[in-house]
């Protein structure tokens, strides 16, 4: 469960990114996080995976106050969270297979498990035949599938997606959405940031709506 209480974040230059945000996301829930550009969606996600500090407030993830986690131990939190970005962030000089293996090497998985789990992740996203391709040889939708496989390969409890379909055609976007729903059906909590009205209409999940750093609605 993710609990956020009175969260404030101000960037240098006095730009207020988040103002008094309080909300709760249950374990195993799928939520859309929406709002215009600059509403604070990405900032909120970054704070959740400890990439950004915040000024005031409290965040509990499964009962743990993330502000109390020492910098050296933040990796323990990040291991529980998978992140998918709009720009995929794949390593261009590594193959699809190596990109997914990389995620397991980073958490020091035993080498004998890495091959097996990478293969399983590739099967889930339907890209086994592209395992030796390099990211730039793939279409946008395929690159995003690789990024999802990489985020899921270490079996995270929470999956954060920052506009993962922002660069994709509506049809492909829906296919990507299905991959997140599949992960959710396995018990993974999903926070899916998007400002696409089509995407929000396509499904009946709870929508957390931010505007200029404030929580406008959550229904």
């Amino acid at each position: 469960m993710i609990q956020i209480f009175n969260l404030y974040k101000t960037y240098k230059g006095n730009t207020q990114a988040l103002i008094d945000i309080s909300l709760e996301i249950k374990s195993g829930e799928f939520v859309f996080l929406t709002g215009q550009s600059g509403a604070g969606k990405s900032t909120l996600l970054k704070i959740l995976y400890s990439w950004e500090n915040f000024d005031k407030g409290q965040i509990l993830i499964n009962g743990i106050n993330i502000a109390k986690i020492r910098e050296d131990n933040q990796y323990t939190l990040r291991r529980k969270i998978g992140v998918v970005f709009q720009d995929y962030r794949l390593l261009p000089r590594k193959t699809v297979f190596e990109n997914i293996s990389f995620a397991q090497e980073a958490v020091e998985s035993p080498s004998e498990r890495i091959r097996f789990k990478t293969w399983e992740a590739l099967k889930k996203v339907g890209l086994t035949q592209k395992k030796d391709s390099f990211p730039l040889q793939l279409a946008g939708g395929e690159q995003q599938r690789v990024a999802i496989a990489r985020a899921l390969v270490n079996s995270p409890e929470i999956l954060l997606a920052d506009e993962p379909t922002g660069n994709l055609d509506p049809e492909i976007a829906l296919e990507i959405l299905k991959l997140f729903e599949h992960a959710n059906s396995q018990g993974v909590t999903v926070i899916f940031a998007t400002h696409s009205a089509e995407m929000l209409k396509a499904r009946d999940y709870r929508v957390i709506n931010l505007g200029k750093g404030r929580l406008i609605s959550t229904k």
Binding site: Y49, W51, N53, L77, I81, L91, A106, E108, R150
Partner: protein, 300 residues
Amino acid sequence: MKLLTRAFRIAFSNIKSSIDVCAVSVITIMVAFSILELFLLVFANLNSLVETWNKQVQLIVYLDDSVSKKDQSTLENLIANNKNVQATSFVSKGQAWTDFKKTFSDKAAILNSLGFNPLPASLRLQFSYSSDRLKAIQKFAKTLEAQNGVESVEYGKSWILKFETFLAFLRLFLLAVGGLLIVGLILIISNTIKLSIYSRKEEIQLMALLGARPNFIKWPFLMEGMLQALVGALLSLGVIKIVYLYMKVQFQDSMASLFRGIYIQFIPDSFAIYILAGSLFSGWLGSYISINRFLKSELK
């Protein structure tokens, strides 16, 4: 162990992928260490020279021509009772004159025309070796100087003290130069590693995002810095060995004839070990500064 093996493997592959930048860094490190080692080589040889001279130093007690048997016997007893004195030899007035004439045989005509023997008889004292040997000699010299029948005592204290002062200065100078070089090396390595870090910026960020431990991210870069510094230091020792061999071939004979029993020697093993340890330390610290600064500035 697994962490270190992986770090070593990645460091090696990083070095391979940016071999030109690493080569410049290694050569700079090598030049810097060579300068330090050249000073060390000079210092080690001067140090051994002064030690040899120190061992050869003896106290010469020149006797008055009119010394009585009783005074000479008192003097000999005093010397025999001093525990630091290892050996004593008596050189008579006649013997001293014969030796002198032998040494300056080319000036025989002048010496013979002198018509008398101007040299005094003397007692030559060898002291057993200890760290405070010079002090023991100085102390005993004062006692002997006050005795009846002693014309003067001599043990070359002024030049030994001057030389030891010079060596103390050289030691201080080496420490200062060594310190400055280490600071310079840390900056060089820090910059090289910074280049390596920026060329893999995306990978590092991704590792942190995926939940890699800080040490898992840092160690390959620390290893890379240490490897560069170690290779630089080893090469510099090789360069100094060549310089040493050249000096030995060119100057050994003249050194040996000038200072009996003196041989040009290489930097002692202990110094070489300090240099290698210093290189590892500066490699580690240089890389540590860069990777820590990067992780702090980029990941927040």
